[in-house]
């Protein structure tokens, strides 16, 4: 098993958000996490990435047989966890190429691979950029600064493609994207699908899941998974809304 989350409880800003969440993800699988606002979807993504604002109070997370929660954020990244941010951060004065090369080489060092020099790095990223329909000038722009919402999300997927994580967690990557951008982002994610990798897609709406077809759909309510099923669950949610699930959860 690639990722095993067991009875995870997480606090943010003093409030209990995740209240005993369990989830198993095997390599090769795509899991969608859906749920109404405030159900804890983004909290799950951020807790997995090691965000300091999210405090794990109970439970375990095992990634590739290791205790993920004991790792610093950078170690998680080097081990192969990648979170595409809901709100990518703008970093003035640091250009994309410099940043991404530093990140890639940190990951490669950790994996015992030789570091890439500037030429090798450029060769690698150029083809990825082309696939994601990104302008070459983008590499010399400061990280996310002055990017449109769509460009920022595309940049997240670009970073993911370059860093080749074992587990990608997409935190509401679809929010604010028009159909064209959504398709490009989805193509980027689909291109990464392989028997060695898994993806967790956190989303509020079903639309992204028509492009990134999940193997499993989980519905979160009040910090727990209240229902898990195949991809058809997403369509059901789209038609009926979250109300009926929340009602069921309350009765259970």
């Amino acid at each position: 098993m690639l990722l095993s989350i067991n009875d995870l409880r997480v606090k943010a800003e003093g409030k209990d958000i995740l209240q005993g969440l369990s989830l198993n993800v095997n390599a090769g699988e795509v899991h969608a996490i859906m749920g109404p606002n405030g159900s804890g979807k983004s909290t799950l993504a951020r807790a997995l990435s090691g965000h300091p604002g999210y405090e794990v109070t109970e439970g375990t997370v095992t990634f590739k047989g290791q205790d993920l929660l004991a790792m610093d954020p950078e170690v998680r990244a080097r081990e192969g966890v990648f979170m595409a941010f809901q709100y990518p951060v703008e970093i003035a004065g640091v250009n994309n190429a410099y940043f991404l090369k530093a990140a890639l080489n940190a990951v490669r060092r950790h994996r015992g691979q030789p570091e890439l020099d500037a030429m090798e790095f450029l060769t690698l990223v150029k083809s990825t950029m082309k696939r994601l329909e990104m302008d070459a000038a983008f590499l010399n722009r400061p990280v996310n600064e002055g990017f449109s919402g769509g460009e920022k999300k595309r940049n997240e997927i670009f970073q993911m493609a370059v860093l080749e994580p074992a587990l990608a967690v997409l935190d509401e990557t679809d929010s604010g994207l028009d159909i064209d951008a959504l398709r490009v982002v989805a193509d980027g994610v689909n291109a990464m699908r392989s028997p060695e990798r898994a993806t967790i897609v956190v989303t509020h709406y079903q639309r992204l899941l028509t492009y990134i077809v999940p193997d499993f759909v989980h519905v979160l309510a009040d910090g727990r998974i209240v229902r898990s099923a195949g991809k058809e669950l997403a369509e059901e949610l789209e038609a009926k809304g979250y109300g009926w699930i929340e009602g069921e959860a309350a009765r259970a």
């Binding site: 990435s49 090691g50 965000h51 300091p52 610093d72 954020p73 950078e74 998680r76 990244a77 080097r78 990648f82 979170m83 941010f85 990518p88 951060v89 970093i91 003035a92 004065g93 640091v94 410099y98 940043f99 991404l100 530093a102 990140a103 890639l104 940190a106 990951v107 950790h110 400061p142 990280v143 970073q159 860093l163």
Partner: protein
């Protein structure tokens, strides 16, 4: 942040210095104010008397009398409120003696692409280390000031102390009172020097904590051009006092780029006065890098004496541990159509203190002035402090004058973002600090100097960040 809640005397750099430099240069016992300086001056004067022109001796005596009148500035003076010079005033610093350094010794402070160089060790010209004559155009005179002064008959034959007069500033008066040598660059009208010129002042004290009074005199004739790199450095770990004065005059349409780098020993005191006078349509572009020293105080004044002067005055300062860096700048728009652009940035770690005071005067005649001042400080620890004050004095009515100050910490979201991609916590911080300071380093158009500055910045930040990583004082 207001200055009112700042302790100062209790944290004077001197208290930390004794501990910082064990074994070298014992800290002298405190004594009353100017007494020790008077004794040293009398001793020095007596030793120098032979062979020196009478006017020079008279000028030095006059300067010393002026220094005695002014005394060392106390913290009750507004301009010195945050910088307590008691550690300098109360110490006995003998005038430094000549020392022998090799090319290898000064290598860290020279640049492969700056071939023309004057080197002074402990204030004395070091001909063996200097390369003044390498292909200078006709009409340029570059060399030590001392021999030039000896040939003059009267004080009226030199413009020394014209742009930087002794009457207003105690440290300028003290510098002039001890003046024997220095660097002099004179450029005839219409001559453009393409290659950059370096002036390096190195301190290499003996067992004692000594002082030197470096002087740089630049006279750029009308329509001339030059690039000057002025570097102050010292043997690491040694304690000394450098009291430097730089005076620059620009003739009409002259263009001078001035890069000033302070890389003093971590235990050293440095008070530096830079006085610039710019004539009509000239351009003065300065970058000052205050990178190390226990106490660094810079007083930089640019007087825009003619119409249409273009002034860029940028600065980057680093203060770590218990260091104090104080930059006082004055841009004086005296005539119309002047533009000035000033950006100062500070990176403060440890228990360091920074002071920035940016005065901009726009006089009544200086209509159509366009002045912009920005100063930003990055505090790496909770114990670091900055006092920052823009000081705009505007007497003309048709001007554009803006200023902005910002003090902040590293952005936690940005640090997390970088870490989430695999960069270590320390590397993430370093990347962000370089991003903050990088544009000022990029502004140096001499590649070798730029690269060296970048390396020094990296090295100092790495040291500070690993220290922060080990203590609870830093921001996690």
């Amino acid at each position: 942040m207001s200055g009112a809640d700042m302790p100062h005397a209790s944290e004077s750099p001197a208290t930390s210095l004794a501990a910082a430099s064990p074994g070298r240069a014992e800290r002298p016992a405190p004594i009353g104010q100017t007494t020790a300086y008077a004794a040293e001056w009398e001793r020095t004067e007596a030793a120098r008397a032979a062979g020196q022109p009478a006017w020079l001796r008279a000028a030095r005596r006059q300067a010393f009398d002026r220094f005695l009148d002014l005394g060392f500035p106390g913290t009750r003076l507004e301009e010195w409120r945050f910088t307590n010079v008691a550690p300098i005033a109360e110490s006995r610093f003998p005038l430094a003696e000549p020392a022998h350094l090799t090319a290898a010794d000064i290598e860290p402070w020279t640049f492969a692409d700056v071939a023309i160089r004057l080197v002074f060790v402990n204030g004395y010209y070091a001909p063996a280390l200097s390369t003044p004559a390498a292909s200078l155009p006709h009409g340029v005179s570059l060399g030590p000031l001392g021999p030039a002064l000896h040939h003059l008959a009267t004080a009226g034959d030199t413009s020394l102390a014209r742009v930087a007069p002794v009457d207003g500033h105690a440290f300028t008066a003290l510098n002039t009172a001890f003046l024997a040598d220095g660097a002099s660059l004179t450029i005839a009208p219409h001559v453009a020097i393409e290659q950059p010129i370096q002036v390096l002042f190195v301190s290499s004290p003996d067992q004692r904590a000594t002082m030197s009074h470096p002087r740089l005199l630049v006279e750029a004739g009308a329509d001339s051009q030059a690039r000057i790199v002025e570097v102050y450095a010292g043997t690491p770990g040694t304690m000394y006092f450098t009291n430097a004065v730089t005076e620059v005059s620009l003739g009409e349409h002259a263009v001078v780029e001035h890069c000033r780098i302070q890389l003093e020993s971590d235990a050293a005191f440095h008070v530096g006065v830079v006085q610039v006078e710019a004539a009509r349509s000239s351009a003065f572009r300065a970058q000052t890098f205050a990178l190390s020293g226990a106490l660094l105080r810079n007083d930089i004044t640019v007087r825009m004496a003619g119409e249409g002067v273009d002034c860029v005055l940028n600065g980057l300062y680093l203060a770590m541990a218990q260091q104090l860096v104080d930059n006082h700048t004055t841009i004086d728009h005296a005539m119309p159509h002047g533009t000035s652009l000033e950006i100062f940035k500070g990176v403060l770690g440890g228990r360091s203190r920074g002071v920035f005071n940016g005065k901009i005067i726009v006089r009544q005649d200086a209509q159509q002035t366009d002045a912009k001042q920005t100063n930003r400080a990055l505090l790496l620890t909770d114990q670091a402090m900055i006092d920052t004050k823009p000081q705009l004095e505007i007497f003309a009515n048709d001007v554009k004058c803006t200023h902005g100050a910002a003090i902040g910490q590293l952005d936690d979201d940005a640090i997390f973002y970088l870490r989430s991609r695999g960069l270590g916590a320390q590397e993430a911080r370093a990347v962000l600090i370089h991003a903050f300071a990088g544009d000022l380093v990029d502004g140096v158009r001499i590649p070798g100097v730029q690269t060296r500055l970048r390396d020094i910045l990296s090295e100092r930040l790495t040291r500070e960040l690993s220290r922060l990583g080990e203590t609870a004082g830093g921001r996690a």
